[in-house]
């Protein structure tokens, strides 16, 4: 993922994914800067998430957990999710993928916000549940690309047909797995 992000350094309006988004880059005001906000911010969210589910870190360095957590919440709520919502409106693959990406960004924002407010209210169970959901959606950055490789290898579909499928396949199974896990925890 870091390698994918590094493609976008230095700033270039016609590189990698943007090569096929020239219509948006040229016609939609702010598409280009907002796209870059998403790319540069989301990579930190993805990295930050890995440390936050470690109970060792939480027990030994609770302050570090809180600080990284604050960064995660800030970046998702103010940078990654709003920019994701905006570029989701112009997603490849037509209406199906647009609905998917816009829904994804709204849920992402909501889960992250809930995770934050619940810890402010000292509700650790709720905090943990919402942060797991939030990260399940963050992790869709990886699962979406992973599914793409598999689908292309197996079926060689047209590029935008793949895109419509992975738009949904990227995050819904992630969320279902987390919900199933939370449901099992609840029963215990």
């Amino acid at each position: 993922m870091i390698k994918i992000t590094l493609q976008y350094i230095p700033l270039n309006p016609n590189v990698a994914f943007l090569q096929i988004k020239q219509t948006e880059v040229n016609q939609i005001p702010f598409y280009y800067p907002i796209f870059y906000v998403h790319v540069y911010s989301a990579i930190f969210v993805l990295l930050a998430g890995f440390s936050q589910f470690s109970s060792t870190l939480l027990k030994k360095y609770p302050a570090t957990h809180r600080n990284i957590g604050k960064v995660y919440v800030f970046v998702v709520l103010f940078l990654s999710a709003p920019s994701g919502f905006f570029i989701g409106l112009f997603a490849n693959g037509g209406l199906y993928s647009k609905i998917s990406f816009v829904t994804l960004s709204i849920l992402w924002f909501y889960f992250t916000l809930k995770g934050f407010t619940s810890i402010k209210n000292k509700n650790i169970t709720k905090h943990r549940a919402f942060m797991l959901r939030s990260f399940a959606l963050t992790f869709s950055a990886i699962t979406l690309r992973f599914w793409k490789v598999i689908l292309v290898y197996l079926f060689h579909p047209a590029p935008m047909d793949v895109y419509q499928i992975i738009a949904w396949l990227g995050w819904i199974p992630n969320l279902l797995i987390v919900e199933y896990y939370l449901y099992n925890q609840l029963k215990k």
Partner: protein, 306 residues
């Protein structure tokens, strides 16, 4: 008196001599540009097929290419023309002989290219050009090719399209793919020999890229393409759409991958090795767009990313 006579005689002889010289000069001027059989001038187009190939080597040269032999000028002593095939355009020089109603030609390429050779052919009934080509270099992979050509003039028509009769498959770039399917095995009828119950071994299968139906509907020369028009196309579709522009302008293609798509196209006449100055504004823009999408498809289609 004698002296005077001598002088007159020498003057007379001298003047005669210069007259003769002038006459000879005039004759030379007349015979130089006398062109004959201008009705045979123009493009003769058809298949250029292997006759002799060194089979001990890996087959690199295509079995069949589309060739255009242009006859430019025929005089009693000299014939000039051009051969255009497989991305090469070579000047031809030679002569024509006539036996009965048939014209026999021997035309040589310059010889400074490793693919140069000599064409020998006859034109039958003024309509069919039949003959062979022999490479100068006898150690070349393909040393002899044959051809049967008919007259077909090149004309740029932006409206011609690929015909939806062939499926466009890239046979030049096969890929090996591992197949581990075992489903087929279970369908075998009862009572067959014991091999049917054995576990299927994974095997390699050769797969080819195939173009989609879109290449028959999108005209890359007349419609200004938008990103949304080409976004859902695979790389092979994009390549074909872009090269159809060049095919309409009669570009002779250097790569076998592209030749296999256009050599069978009825309207395609190779005429030049570079047509860049012929392209229309719309075509130029479409080429840039298609090229960009080809690059994106190349870099991203089957890799981890979007």
């Amino acid at each position: 008196m004698k002296k005077l006579f001598c002088l007159l005689l020498s003057i007379f002889l001298f003047s005669c001599n210069s007259k003769e010289k002038n006459l000879a000069k005039n004759n030379a001027d007349n015979s130089m540009p006398k062109e004959i059989r201008t009705d045979l001038y123009g493009s003769w187009v058809g298949d250029f097929t292997v006759l002799e190939r060194d089979t001990t080597r890996e087959a690199k040269e295509k079995y069949r290419n589309k060739i255009n032999i242009v006859i430019k000028k025929i005089t009693a002593t000299e014939v000039t023309g051009q051969s255009i095939v497989a991305g090469n355009s070579r000047p031809l020089k030679g002569f024509m002989r006539r036996t009965g109603n048939t014209f026999y030609f021997t035309l040589k390429e310059p010889g400074d290219d490793k693919n140069d050779g000599v064409f020998t052919f006859e034109i039958q009934k003024d309509t069919l050009l039949v003959g062979t080509w022999t490479a100068f270099n006898a150690k070349k992979e393909v040393t002899k090719r044959k051809f049967e050509l008919t007259k077909k003039e090149f004309k740029y028509d932006p409206n011609v399209m690929l015909e939806d009769v062939d499926s466009y498959i890239d046979f030049e770039n096969p890929k090996e793919k591992l197949i581990t399917d075992t489903e087929d095995q279970e369908d075998t009828e009862e009572g067959e020999d014991s091999t049917s119950t054995k576990k299927a071994e994974p095997y390699m299968e050769t797969v080819y890229r195939a173009a989609s139906e879109k290449i028959f509907n999108i005209n890359s020369s007349t419609q200004k393409l938008k990103e949304s028009d080409v976004k859902n196309l695979k790389k092979i579709d994009l390549e074909i759409l872009r090269n159809t522009i060049f095919a309409r302008h009669g570009l002779t293609f250097k790569t076998k991958t592209i030749r296999q798509f256009f050599d069978n196209v009825q309207w395609y006449v190779p005429i030049a090795t570079n047509v860049d100055d012929q392209l229309t504004a719309v075509e130029k823009e479409n080429i840039v767009l298609l090229k960009r999408f080809e690059k994106y498809a190349e870099d991203n289609y089957d890799s981890f990313g979007r």
